[in-house]
Every structure is written in C-alpha cells, then in structure tokens.
Subunit: 418 residues, 2 copies
C-alpha cells in the first residue's frame, strides 16, 4: 500500500503556466475561473510560493474507490507541479452527524472515531498522494469550529443571503416540492466555505455535486478580504454497472485498496462506453493514444486500461499474472493462489456437517449469516465451481476442502482446521 | 419615579381561573392558545406554583413610552395575580448589533453598554412592574448564548425547517420581492425561541409584530420536550398623530418617565378615535364606564384618561394643577412654575446680544444649533408668546429674562447669569 520510489518522480516546479494549465484542465468539468487560475499560477511561478489546493474529506465513510481517485489524481497533479495539497478532515462536523436523526448514514461519531476513520482515509490516499510535508498538509476543521461561538456564527451567517443559499439546486427543488429542509442544512455550506477562509485556499477541488458549496467558499473569501479561490470540479465516475455513479453501496465499485488481481479484473469489466472516461480520468495516457485504443479492439483497450491503472496503485504487481488469472476466471476456472481458511471442528453440527451460510461468513465473503443466505438466494455463490442454491444447506468438509466463490472473482478455499 | 406603597396593593393569589382569564384577556390580540392558558392557570392554582411569564427586552433603545407600557401593564396584571414575570435582557444579542453593518439603528454595543442600557430600561419599568423578587426575575441571554458553540447551534437549527421560518410574513415578502435577507436573520428567531427553552417560560408576551418569533419559541419548547408556552400579543399603540405606531423617532409619543404635567397634556391630545383603545390598554376602568365616557363629551373623556394614566405613573402628582396648566397653555398662556436657566455673559456677541438658536440649545430644547434653526424655520419657536422667525436672529437679555417656548407645551425661562 505505501508508496515506492518509482511512484515518486521528482517534482516539476517552474513548468510554464500554459503547460501547467494543460495538465490541470484535463478531465475537469467546472473551472471557475480559468483566468483566476492562470493569474494564480503566474504569481506562484514569479514568487516561488506554491498554490494551496484544498480538498474536504468526510471521515464518516472512509472506504475509497476509483471514483474518489479521480479527484485525488488531480490533487496529485498539483503536487507534481510543486503545489501544496491540503487534506481537510471534517472531524468536528462528523461529531455532529445528522442532528435530526433522520439519516442513518450519518450517525454522530466521537472525535476519536472521526480521527481514526480519518487515519484510515489518509492511509488509503497514500496510494495516490505524495506524502512529503512540502506538498501535503493535513488539517482538521475542529481547529476552528470547536472554538466558534454564537457571535462568530452570526457574523459568518451575516455575510451570506438566504436567496443565494436557496439557489442551490437541491434546496430550491426541495423547497418548492415541500420536502423539509432543516435550518442547519443551510449552515453547512457556510461553514464548509469558512474552511476555505481559515485555510487561505487558492483552489478547491471536488465532485460536480460540490460546485455550489465550493463557490460559497469562493464568495466568502471575498467577504473576508481574501483572494477568491478557484473552484475545480471533476466528474462523478460512473461505476461498473455502466449507469450509476460508482459507490460502495451500489456494489459497482473498484476499491483503492483492492488487491492487484481484483482491481485488474474490475477494470477488465468496465463497460465499453465508459472506456474513454476511465482513460481520461484515471490514466495519464495522451489523448492521441487513447483515441487509437478506442478505435481498436475493446479487449485490447481494456487490457491497457487495467495495466495502467493497476500499475499506478500497485507498481510492484505482476500484471501478467493478474491477466492470466482474469482469463482463467473468465473461462469459469478456479485460479491458483487463492486465500484459504481453516474452520474449527466446533462449527460442525451433530452430523459433522457445516452450514454453508456460516462458511461464507467465516471466509469473509459476507458479514452475517443473513446476507450470506441472501447471496445464495440470489444465485451469487458457487461451491467448487457449481452454483449453490440452498440458503440453509450444510456441507461436509473432506480433506481436500472446498472452494467457495462469490460472484465472478472472489475465491476462498475452506478447509477443516486440524 | 420609584413605587409608592399605594401603588402596590396586596397580590391577589388564588383568584379563580375564570376571573384570572377575564383580566388577562383584556386588550389582547392573539392568545395561542386560551385552552393552554386555562390549563396552566388551573395547575398553578392547584400546585401553588406561579406561571413564568417572559418578556424579551432589547437594550439597544432604552427609551420607553406608553406603547411599551401596554405590554408592561399586562405583565403587571400577571404579577398582581401572583405570577412571576421574567424580564429577559438581550445583552448578548446587543453586542452583535447588525453584523451586515447596513442598519445604523443597531450599532453593536459592548456588554457593559448593553448592561447599562438595560439598567436604565429596568429603572423605567419600575413605574409599572412590582419589584419584589417573588414576582420579578431579571435574566440576561448572555447566560446561555455566550457559551453556545457551533455544535449547539447546529443542533438548535436542526429542530426547525427552512419552510417554517420563511413563513414569517416579512421574510416571505422580502424573498419574493428579491430584497436580500441575510442568513443570520433566520437564526435570530431560533435563538429568541431558545431563550424560552432556557427559561422554561409558561407564557411569552409581545407586540403583534412578535407573534411569529414567539410561536417559534412555543414550537422549540415542544422539540425540547417542554410544555409549549402560551403566546400573548398586544396591539401596537397608535401615537398622538393618530396614524403611526407610537415611537420616539416619529415624535408622536408620551414617555414613561415624562413629568406629570407633560404626560397629562399629552394624554389630553390623544385623537378622539383612539380614546377607546387608550382606555382599554392603559387603564383598568371597567368596560361599562369606558362606554359611558365614550358616549359623553370627548373633553371629559380625555380628562378621565389623563387623570387615570398620569395617576398610575405618578400617584403623588397634583392632577388639578396639571389640568390647570394644560388649560392655560391651551389658551396660549405661559404657565407659572416653568424651569429657568442662567446664560453666562460669555455667550453674548460684541453687541451684547445672544444668538437665539444658541439660547434654544442652552435651554435644552434642541441638541444643536442646526436643529434649533430648523425649529425656528418650521415656526416651532415662540419668544414671550410670539412666534419667532429668524433662524440667525439675536436677542437682548433684559433683567426680567425671556420665555422661550417649543411647540405647545415646552417652556423655559432664560435669564442672564449674574
């Protein structure tokens, strides 16, 4: 997981502004404004003062996938040009959760939990971001939010009008549809914007869904007599299902920390119509080469994509082996070198048989017997290459063990522990 | 100014609920809800626990007039029935002022200034409210606002929806007219409402313009698992001009601390169509008596009104003298017993004459030479009973002095200081 030296070519400072712009513009959706960015880059070049490039990170959901990688790669490009990336961890905001208690996805965390999540988040980022202090700053919003009092919040709120906040697309839609918006939701964009003031950010990155919030930061900086930040948004990556944005809950994702062969196999399954997108957002291949690949056979294009992306995250991985394994699995075979677990005899029933759902859990393929049974009901489990259909079934464990398989590419050998 | 014993008849505890309601309902515009108030009064009677009756006081404008007295008299009625009145001083809110800097009428005060203003405010209230701790509690919102942090405010804001706040009449009008509303303005009703939570208020009083804000408090108490407060509003008193609400800046007011003869004269000038209103809101005369007075000669009704109200604020005053003085002034005469000032010789010009505008300022009738000249231009100044017309004119001060007169009823004798 940690960076190898090969991953860290020397930083290219002092690249002419036009060349920097060409790199930074790639794949971008919004750039507000290009003139401002140009001016900031020119000044940075003249003064030797790197730009401060902010990204807000929500430590409530620390599992990162290639959808997040799109933005981290842009951060990395800023680093490669000598600019300073600021990872802003919303630790204090995470301790608030959803005060209305309506959203189960935002339970309040303790500051310790939030920091622990942030640690895991930052570790995952190591696969992409340079780690040297010169180009990486890690900050927590508890630094300023914890000491903010009633008066500070009133002063902050006084700088923004209700009409401007309600312009946000989802707010105006909910308001006209009569769907309740809690008052505190209007305050979040303001505090998020205030983070940019506190950090003196020159640039803020985010997904297209963050455009409004990050423009609030740009506006607030002006109100606090700072130079307004440049707002750059990147597209939300569409997941392997070809239609929804990549997300863990939709199970259409490739994780940043996935094993090389899993990542490789995932990339081989990217829908053809998304290939251009993935190449543009997740590789550095020049435009002409991408065009040539897209004009050729899709399998070849997939192989190059899978190699490029996997090699970025796992520079030491054996990509030939990953390809072979993918091909063998694609043909329905069982790859060599799969993990194995030993099951204690105590797990057996009186007949010496093992409940299949329990084996799936012990193999780490599902978190509970219930979800294991649903997997079986949905025909998602194979045992020794055959689809297994009885959610309450039991199996004998012979000396050679069993291979259980979830979906197309997750294999675990299950053996009796001696 | 301080209370005399005559002013404080014994508290009438244990009055039956219906009798209490009859007193408390008098002159009220909104009562949300009468059932709740009835229930609270019943419980108070059963347990001997007085109701907690809140009034928010803004210490930025401490000059009180009869418009304020309408509400204070209602508070006093609660006291007379044994209930506890809570004067809530918005000292902390006053230190914020208007953070947008747009309103010159709300400059931020220091906490000391705010407390000093509050002191003057509370002293003026002594003319109306009982001062014994048993029925008077004085609180400051700095008690809870000063220690409120970001998290507390988010939790508070989460309890209210944007739609409910925007229902407030002026907000919805401004929003649809495109007139800017600053975000902090939406927070004020919430914090004002939170005051009721902090105080466990049973009842909140206010002008009709406070109905919405006080209903927010009622809603919030429910969200904080408290019994919701009863909201009572009283009409805004129309001033002596007969059309606008009484206010100092419109100069259509009678001050709570005005001298007996000034108050008396002011009340004699109440427009006829407001007599009913003034009787209902500012006296305890029974309905039948008011009706009889209104059916009779208006001058007689005015005399009774002036006597009743002046006697309430000045129980020791000589009301016959006040009436005589009013009549003499009404005929254009100069009353006896008017204040006099001595003007130092240094104020005279080389010809031994005194600039009239300067005399007006020295007499305390205007604050600056400029406003004194405007008074003269507007034909508002008399000297020895004659209208004086030259804003830059000068006068000799003979040994008997001069009487200068502003409007109908402000006289000062000006003499040379020996």
């Amino acid at each position: 997981m940690t960076q190898t030296a090969a991953h860290n070519p020397p930083i290219q400072r002092h690249l002419p502004v036009d060349q920097q712009l060409a790199i930074l513009r790639r794949g971008v959706v919004d750039l507000v404004s290009e003139d401002d960015l140009k001016r900031k880059l020119q000044r940075s070049l003249a003064t030797g003062q790197p730009l401060r490039v902010k990204l807000g990170a929500d430590p409530t959901r620390p599992d990162l996938h290639l959808g997040h990688a799109v933005i981290f790669r842009k951060m990395r490009q800023f680093q490669d040009l000598g600019h300073k990336v600021i990872m802003l961890i919303g630790d204090f905001t995470a301790t608030i959760g959803d005060p209305t208690g309506k959203s189960k996805t935002r339970p309040p965390l303790s500051l310790e939990q939030a920091r622990a999540n942030a640690q895991s988040y930052l570790e995952q980022c190591q696969a992409i971001l340079r780690q040297d202090e010169e180009v990486l700053e890690i900050r927590y919003n508890s630094e300023w939010l914890e000491s903010m009092g009633y008066k500070d919040i009133i002063s902050l709120a006084a700088k923004y009008t209700v009409a401007r906040i309600l312009e946000r697309d989802d707010f105006s839609k909910r308001l006209s549809a009569g769907t309740p918006i809690s008052m505190h939701e209007l305050l979040y964009p303001l505090t998020q914007g205030y983070d940019s003031v506190a950090l003196h950010a020159d640039v803020e990155l985010g997904g297209t869904d963050q455009l409004f919030n990050n423009l609030v930061g740009r506006g607030l900086q002006r109100d606090y007599d700072q130079e307004p930040q440049v707002v750059i948004t990147l597209p939300l990556l569409v997941g392997l299902d070809g239609s929804e944005k990549m997300s863990k809950s939709l199970n259409n994702y490739i994780g940043i920390t996935d094993e090389p062969h899993t990542m490789f196999a995932g990339l081989m399954k990217v829908p053809d119509h998304l290939l251009d997108n993935y190449f543009t957002l997740l590789t550095d291949l020049p435009r002409e080469q991408i065009d040539t690949l897209l004009a050729g056979h899709p399998v070849e294009a997939h192989r190059v994509l899978a190699r490029e992306v996997t090699a970025f995250f796992h520079p030491e991985a054996d990509l030939d082996a990953a390809l072979e394994r993918f091909q063998s699995v694609a043909k329905g075979g069982i790859p060599e070198n799969i993990p194995s677990i030993g099951v204690p005899a105590a797990e057996a029933n009186e007949q010496g048989q093992y409940p299949v759902a329990r084996l799936v859990v012990l193999a780490g393929l599902e978190l509970s017997n219930g979800s294991a049974r649903r997997l079986i009901q949905n025909k998602g489990l194979k045992v020794n290459g055959e689809v297994y259909l009885d959610p309450y079934g039991t199996l004998e464990l012979l000396s050679e063990g069993l291979v259980i398989q979830k979906g197309k590419d997750k294999f675990v050998r299950v053996e009796k522990r001696e």
